[in-house]
């Protein structure tokens, strides 16, 4: 297995300096990502799971070159990302694309769907054939060609997420990075969007990095799951193993917190859910 990994993180740390809360004490430092090492193989689907504030989005920003680590190294397709200024990362936009949680705020309301989807192509300087490509992409994600002339607000949440996926696929990337792509969606739409992600990852042979606070969502889509807590990876395991035999107590508490329908019907109460969540400080 000497193939270059899709994504490689080596001892990555990211500190943020918070605003000072008092004149006497020094500005507090938040270690959002703490010494994270992780290798994602080509074609692998990895889930990153953790509570709000655990550092998931910060980690993604580092992988995408949208932010730089305080220390450590980030490689995508074997090429360094951590020490490059944004203007040297054009190649990264072609190989790695993003889908975000809130399809409303990530889609420019003043742009037509056609231009939204073509945006990554235009950014690459591609001028011709974009019209055809947009139609092809829209149809690929289950929208009709006429969607191209409409605006984002004319679509439902699930349809907007399809538009985001179409845009991400436009430059024919190798890696798809998704930050909570279904957290804002209804159960039925959630299943549709998860199926779509599954389908395009399979169909285009993509590597998938999928962030969620809900382990049950990751379960269907990912081969392997990394559990993040206070900036650190506390457990990384193949999905089935993680669900069957979670090792870290934090993983167990995340699993216990999911209000699963079948377990609820079998009698699990809100009190049981809360009891499973480790008592947290603060």
């Amino acid at each position: 297995m000497s193939e270059t990994p899709s994504v490689e993180l080596r001892n990555v740390t990211r500190d943020f300096r918070r605003r000072r809360t008092s004149l006497t004490s020094p500005a507090p430092v938040v270690r959002a990502v703490d010494d994270v090492s992780l290798t994602v193989a080509r074609g692998e689907r990895i889930g990153i799971v953790g509570e709000s504030g655990s550092g998931k989005s910060t980690l993604l920003r580092l992988i995408c070159g949208l932010d730089r680590p305080t220390s450590g190294e980030v490689y995508v397709e074997g090429r360094p990302v951590h020490d490059q200024p944004p203007w040297r990362l054009g190649w990264l936009r072609a190989t790695l694309q993003l889908v975000f949680q809130d399809p409303m705020s990530s889609l420019d309301p003043r742009m037509r769907v056609r231009d939204i989807v073509a945006e990554p192509l235009v950014a690459q300087g591609r001028r011709s054939g974009n019209r055809e490509r947009v139609v092809e992409l829209l149809e690929r994600v289950g929208l009709s060609a006429e969607a191209a002339d409409r605006y984002p607000h004319q679509f439902s949440g699930g349809q907007r997420q399809r538009i985001s996926v179409a845009r991400a696929l436009a430059p024919d990337p190798d890696i798809l990075v998704a930050d909570e792509p279904v957290s804002a969606l209804d159960v039925s739409v959630r299943a549709q969007v998860l199926n779509l992600i599954d389908e395009v990852v399979e169909g285009f042979d993509l590597t998938l990095v999928f962030v969620s606070h809900d382990l049950s969502v990751v379960r269907h889509v990912c081969d392997r799951v990394a559990v993040m807590r206070r900036g650190q990876l506390v457990e990384v395991a193949p999905t089935e193993q993680l669900f069957a035999a979670p090792e870290h107590p934090y993983t167990r508490s995340l699993l216990a917190a999911v209000p699963d329908l079948q377990q609820a019907l079998a009698g699990r109460t809100a009190e049981d859910l809360a009891a499973g969540v480790a008592r947290r400080e603060r």
């Binding site: 159960v187 299943a191 049950s216 089935e240 995340l254 209000p259 019907l265 809100a270 969540v277």
Partner: protein
Amino acid sequence: MAAAPAAAPAVDRTVLRVDGLSVGTRHTGLLHDVSFQICRGERVGLIGESGSGKSLTALAVMGLLPEGLAATGDVRLSARTPATRNLLDLPERDLARLRGDGLSMVFQEPMTALNPTMRVGDQVAEVMLIHRTQPSRGAVRRRVVELLEQVDLPDPAHLARSYPHELSGGQRQRVVLAIALANDPALLICDEPTTALDVTVQATVLDLVVRGVEERDAAMLFITHDLGVVATVCERVLVMYGGRIVEAGPVQDVFGDPRHRYTQGLVAASDLTGAEGRRERAALPTIPGSVPPAGRFPDGCVFRTRCTHADEVCRTQPPWVPRGEHPAGETAYGHACVHPAGGYGDE
């Protein structure tokens, strides 16, 4: 454990009685003939996809419908002695007196309910001062700390002095819950109170909500699109689509053995586990299509444009079919589908 319908109660324990509630703009009907009751101590879920009419139902009951929407029908808070008049006919002054007292609500986004420029302790105190439910200012102050403690906030006396932006999303929602419970309401309405929270915080907030209403023997209407949450928190559920209640009953029966095809679709789409303990590469079950915009639902069965079992018969409004007896009346347990799931020879 199937919920055994109890014998008719000797005393009327009904807290909320909604009868033939319809809501619409001048041109478009949004809710149609919604009827249900909730008894003292009962926790009832209201589920359905986004755009089904859940929030409008809650707002109509609270008398908080936005400008341009009008409601007809009958909504009564019978926990009051004497029972209220139809809330839909009540002048805003009288409604305001009920809100935060007999009737209170928790919304999805805690910031909409909190004043960003006011200390949270003062906000909890305010609702008691307005309704004069405590004998003195000192009593109010003590009660504030007690309430914040009840919703499991650490160091409540200190926390009471914080402003909302200094708290996490989960802490803010607890403050909102403390405000909602401050005057021991007869009815608590929660509209997606944990949808913006992550799973671990959600677990603790759900526990607090249940404890809060249990301690007060209050009635609760709990709105969410997450079936797992409803099954965890509620004993009974109303399924809404296209502004109509299409199925209702004990959670065990409605989710364990649904009748309406819409409920059946929701239950199937909720299950992300696939086969026992293994990720299925096979596609997850979904409901075809999407929720139409307001006013574009079909007549007849509202679900028929997305239903794989629809036929000619479904073009006329299916009658309500009671499924069993229930203390909260015939609207509490039944469905409106002419080709229901779950019978012999189904599928």
